[in-house]
């Protein structure tokens, strides 16, 4: 193909990638390097507010007020701050201090336990801890559950398969916020599951009261939610499995487990890599269950911090800094997977 026609062919996708992916990334990086605010000065001000029954209350206080320009519009300050937002979001100063002399929580004694408590007391690092835990536990789990489901559905009679595939996909079809809420409502005080456990004679159980149960619930939710994705890809992969190698393996005396281990799994290998790749990216951005379970004392995520900075701290620059840290995290996690698939690609060609 001539260079010109090649360029003409790829131009639309390059252009859309630039506009939809590169440009927003540059924008986020730009925002994270700046800080903006309205110029204010302290002014003594009397406010009057309503009470009930026609009463009002006056209060005189010193309050920051905006400095206005000639048109009566507030003066905006937009300044370059370099890495300050990133350093604040990542709390690197605090981490350095903690390593030097950790203060610990109320009880910890040893250096390491005090250091752990100190590091996880920083929002970003606490969020990172659970985000990584979630990513590393759900990824193998969805591969195993997805493969098991694919094998199971593949072995039932053809007439049942359509219905089963649909039923298995349901958790993926429901919007994550809705399914998180549904799960949350099952485990609240006096909810269906908690009441059932009590009915069985195990007493009252409070799932949202401590770290281990909250984390377990969120991770199980993650597996339940993402396994159908692994399932549908692996199920499609199984349909491309040629019969010959399986039959040869049977003639050679391979049992069911050996056929799975040495014939089917290698055949599905590239698909497993793709699922891992996509799920790691997804899992690192876990957000909905954190928001819905309302449990960030015990389980927080990096993506939730971005939302929190934007929604509750009104700080788009800090939110951008968290986004940058999220992107860096995803890239670091993906490096091993990408290297592996690149090596496989080179061997093949």
């Amino acid at each position: 193909m001539k260079t010109r026609s090649f360029l003409a062919f790829v131009a639309p996708s390059v252009a859309s990638m630039l506009i939809l992916i590169a440009l927003p990334l540059v924008g986020v990086a730009y925002l994270s390097l700046h800080q903006s605010r309205v110029k204010t000065e302290l002014v003594e001000l009397t406010t009057e507010i309503p009470l009930v029954g026609g009463l009002t209350r006056k209060q005189t206080r010193v309050v920051p007020q905006s400095v206005l320009d000639e048109d009566g519009m507030p003066i905006q300050i937009w300044e370059y701050v370099g890495g300050r937002n990133l350093a604040k979001a990542g709390e690197f100063k605090g981490i350095a201090k903690a390593i030097g002399n950790p203060r610990g929580g109320s009880e910890e004694k040893g250096y390491l336990s005090r250091l752990y408590r100190d590091i996880t007391n920083f929002e970003f690092w606490a969020a990172l801890e659970f985000t990584l835990l979630y990513t590393f536990l759900t990824t193998p789990a969805i591969l195993i559950v997805g493969l098991a489901l694919a094998l199971a559905v593949n072995s039932v009679s053809k007439r049942l398969r359509g219905t089963l595939v649909f039923a298995t996909l349901l958790p993926m079809i429901v919007t994550p916020v809705v399914s998180s809420l549904a799960i949350y409502w099952l485990f609240m005080d006096n909810a269906i599951i908690t009441n059932f456990i009590e009915y069985l004679g195990f007493g009252k159980f409070y799932f949202l009261a401590d770290k281990i149960t909250i984390r377990t619930l969120i991770i199980l939710y993650g597996v339940w939610f993402a396994a159908p994705f692994a399932f549908i890809i692996l199920y499609a992969g199984l349909q491309t499995m040629p019969r010959d190698p399986l039959e040869s393996a049977m003639i050679d005396g391979a049992n069911k487990w050996q056929r799975l281990r040495y014939v089917i799994i290698p055949h599905l290998g590239p698909l497993l890599t793709v699922i891992t790749l996509i799920h790691v990216m997804d899992a690192y951005r876990v957000f909905e269950p954190i928001l819905v379970f309302n449990a960030d004392v015990f389980a927080n995520s990096v993506q939730y911090l971005t939302y929190f900075a934007l929604a509750f701290q009104d700080n788009i620059h800090k939110a951008a800094a968290y986004s940058i840290l999220t992107i860096v995290g995803v890239i670091i996690l993906l490096i091993p997977v990408l290297r592996k698939s690149f090596r496989e690609y080179r061997i093949k060609t």
């Binding site: 605010r37 001000l45 507010i49 029954g53 949202l208 509750f312 701290q313």
Partner: protein, 414 residues
């Protein structure tokens, strides 16, 4: 008004647009776009606003719990897609301090007679009228009258009384826990709010008004937070993820005997579709922290503001807002909230809010720094309440977070 009447009113508004639009006589063209939070009163006002829709005038009200994020971005942009928004005393301060709100003085003068605008509806910052208030609210004490009688308890006047009552009520088998309060909620806002209620009643302050430096981490703050920790012993172990909606359900379902809850939720205790404790819930001002001191609750109002950068016509927008908050709307929906207008008739459900005001409950601190302090507190005291660290340390962390936000906003220079 009972639920059925309310439904009938709502149905009439929906079913009879021709009749309704006859009531609204705004002669204007264009669009009015409104963004507000999402609760019953605002839903009603949205419906009334939409009465003003005609062929030439389009009215669009967006009710969303993410109103704050959208409003902040919209009002800071070069033109705001929203012409008006409902705010409360916590959310107005930042907008006002940033100089984003249009002074409404001229519009108020022009339309004072037409809409019977009353002085107490005007939120003034200095000489500027920044908002038109329509409702008031405050948190107060909710308790089970039947259980208090059964155990011979008096309505607690102080938090010490409340703790003593909680201890007695632990033996009550019909309930799961003696007490409930919103110690969770989106962004931990409600957890922070509970702390502020108690801190102010304890004589504490959030920050120094002149330097903006945090002071909530002092001894008064530690005392307040430790009280929250003690209260937690009488609450559901899941309490750190409960918002005020959960607390309402706990009361309605007879799971708890006492709670701190918003005043406008009082009538829901007797809603037969939701509650199994009808007629058994009593209301009183929140307990005090110091003897003879104010109740541990702050006073709130909700109102409409118009941004300077609006895209539509301020005069049309103002008329739509005033149409929705006129005296007739208050009259035909008296019981759904605590209206600011003087034709509002207080009911048994609003008595505790009025008593709280009379007992000098302070207004929620209307300084822009409060938003940062509130957020930082809510976000950090969970570590203490969850047993991870001491109260002092949680508050020290909150103070660090608050400082960082205040520096970014230019309230503190580093």
């Amino acid at each position: 008004m009972n639920k059925l009447q309310l439904l009938a009113t709502a149905a009439a508004v929906v079913a009879a647009p021709s009749l309704a639009s006859a009531e609204c006589d705004i002669d204007a063209t264009g669009e009015v776009n409104v963004i507000t939070n999402f609760f019953e009163t605002l839903e009603l006002l949205a419906n009334v606003m939409e009465e003003c829709e005609s062929e030439d005038l389009k009215i669009d009200v967006k009710l969303t719990t993410s109103h704050k994020e959208e409003r902040e971005q919209a009002f800071a942009a070069s033109t705001s897609p929203y012409d008006t928004s409902a705010v409360a005393n916590s959310s107005i301060t930042m907008l006002q301090a940033k100089g984003q709100l249009m002074p409404l003085n001229d519009l108020v003068e022009k339309y004072r007679d037409k809409y019977g605008i009353e002085d107490q509806m005007l939120i003034r910052f200095g000489d500027d009228i920044a908002a038109i208030a329509f409702m008031a609210n405050a948190q107060h004490f909710f308790y089970r009258k039947d259980l208090f009688e059964k155990h011979g308890l008096d309505v607690p006047e102080s938090y010490d009384d409340l703790l003593a009552a909680a201890k007695v009520l632990q033996s009550e088998e019909s309930i799961d826990f003696p007490f409930g309060a919103a110690y969770g909620g989106p962004g931990n806002w409600e957890r922070g709010n509970e702390f502020i209620n108690i801190l102010l009643a304890n004589g504490g302050e959030l920050f120094d008004p002149v330097t903006s430096e945090p002071v909530f981490d002092g001894p008064k703050g530690v005392e307040s937070l430790e009280l929250m920790g003690e209260l937690l012993n009488y609450m559901s172990p899941n309490a750190l993820s409960h918002d005020f909606g959960h607390v309402r359900q706990q009361l309605q379902q007879g799971e708890i005997a006492m709670a701190i809850q918003w005043g406008d939720q009082a009538a829901t205790m007797d809603n037969e579709n939701e509650s199994i404790v009808i007629g058994n819930v009593g209301f009183a001002p929140a307990p005090a922290m110091v003897e003879g001191g104010p109740p541990a609750a702050t006073f709130w109002w909700d109102g409409y503001v118009i941004p300077k950068n609006l895209d539509g016509d301020p005069e049309t927008t103002f008329q739509v807002v005033m149409h929705a908050t006129r005296a007739e709307v208050v009259e035909s929906n008296n019981d759904i909230t605590l209206w600011v207008r003087s034709n509002y008739v207080p009911s048994e459900y609003s008595k505790a809010v009025i008593d709280s005001v009379m007992a000098n409950a302070p207004p929620y601190p209307m300084n822009p720094q409060s938003e940062f302090a509130h957020g930082a507190i809510g976000n950090n005291i969970g570590d203490f309440l969850g047993g991870l660290e001491s109260a002092e340390q949680s508050l020290a962390d909150a103070a660090t977070d608050y400082r960082s936000a205040a520096v970014d906003a230019g309230f503190i220079s580093e």
